[in-house]
């Protein structure tokens, strides 16, 4: 049963990924990413990680994508986007590179060991105990980092003569 769910999720990721590659409007791209991340959140649940599944929705879809939306709004790109190319110049070399990368990944995947199937759910309580136990210092450091980002963003926009 689970396998059908996984296949469905894989399909969603594939489709939204392809869509991301071909849409022109950044707003469409953000929406596609949102769908993709929601699918990922369900995947996280299946993998036995309810805490990060919830975080994925709250943080990623709820905060980071909203950041994207704000940024797009503030950039005030004109609505008509027909003529400009989607791709950067010099498109072919990197495209070849990516195809090669995909090929190598597929070949490497062929040598994988059998992974045991039993997935135990690891509760949010356990994650909390870990975060504030052995990883306490890292957690505090990341908190400090996030705080520092506020200052950094202010510094970036400090030059004053714009009204964003």
């Amino acid at each position: 049963m689970i396998i059908f769910l996984i296949l469905l999720l894989a399909l969603v990721v594939l489709v939204t990924g392809a869509a991301l590659l071909v849409v022109r409007d950044p707003m469409h791209g953000v929406v596609n990413l949102g769908v993709s991340l929601l699918a990922l959140s369900i995947l996280f649940l299946v993998l036995g990680a309810p805490f990060v599944a919830a975080l994925e929705v709250m943080l990623y879809v709820g905060a980071i994508l909203v950041l994207f939306l704000f940024a797009i709004m503030l950039m005030r790109t004109p609505i008509e986007l027909g003529e400009a190319s989607r791709w950067r110049q010099g498109f072919w070399w990197p495209a070849v590179l990516i195809v090669l990368l995909a090929a190598v990944l597929i070949i490497l995947y062929g040598r994988h060991p059998m992974l045991p199937v039993a997935i135990q759910e690891i509760t949010p309580a356990a994650v909390g105990r870990a975060l504030f136990g052995p990883y306490l210092w890292l957690t505090e450091a990341v908190a400090l980092l996030l705080f520092a980002v506020i200052g950094a963003v202010l510094a970036i926009h400090q030059r004053g003569d714009h009204d964003a």
Partner: protein
């Protein structure tokens, strides 16, 4: 089978992310690609967690989310400045680091 498919999804995400970073012109898509790369790494961390029943996977994911959010916030702010100063929001506008290797 679940974990194998999870890895395949991670690989798909990774390839998509890399393609967005390398091939698209608009900088917003570049950043979307970077988010996909982060998420691919998160999936792999959770596969590791499921495989070895260790809580470290989720801890890693939490940190990755925090860090990617921080990086993204800064990058978007920079993006707005780029739009302001350089007038365009494409990859080709960012030429400042170019060395004078061609004279």
């Amino acid at each position: 089978m679940t974990l194998e498919w999870a890895l395949i999804i991670a690989a798909l995400l990774f390839l998509t992310g890399v393609a967005l970073v390398l091939l698209r012109r608009n900088l917003i898509f570049l950043l979307l690609g970077i988010e996909l790369l982060f998420n691919s790494a998160m999936v792999i961390a959770l596969v590791g967690e499921a495989r070895w029943h260790s809580v470290t996977g989720q801890v890693l994911v939490v940190f990755m989310m925090a860090l990617s959010g921080a990086a993204l916030a800064l990058t978007l702010a920079l993006l707005l400045r780029v739009k302001q100063e350089l007038g365009a929001d494409t990859v080709e506008a960012l030429r400042g680091l170019r060395e004078e290797a061609n004279e």
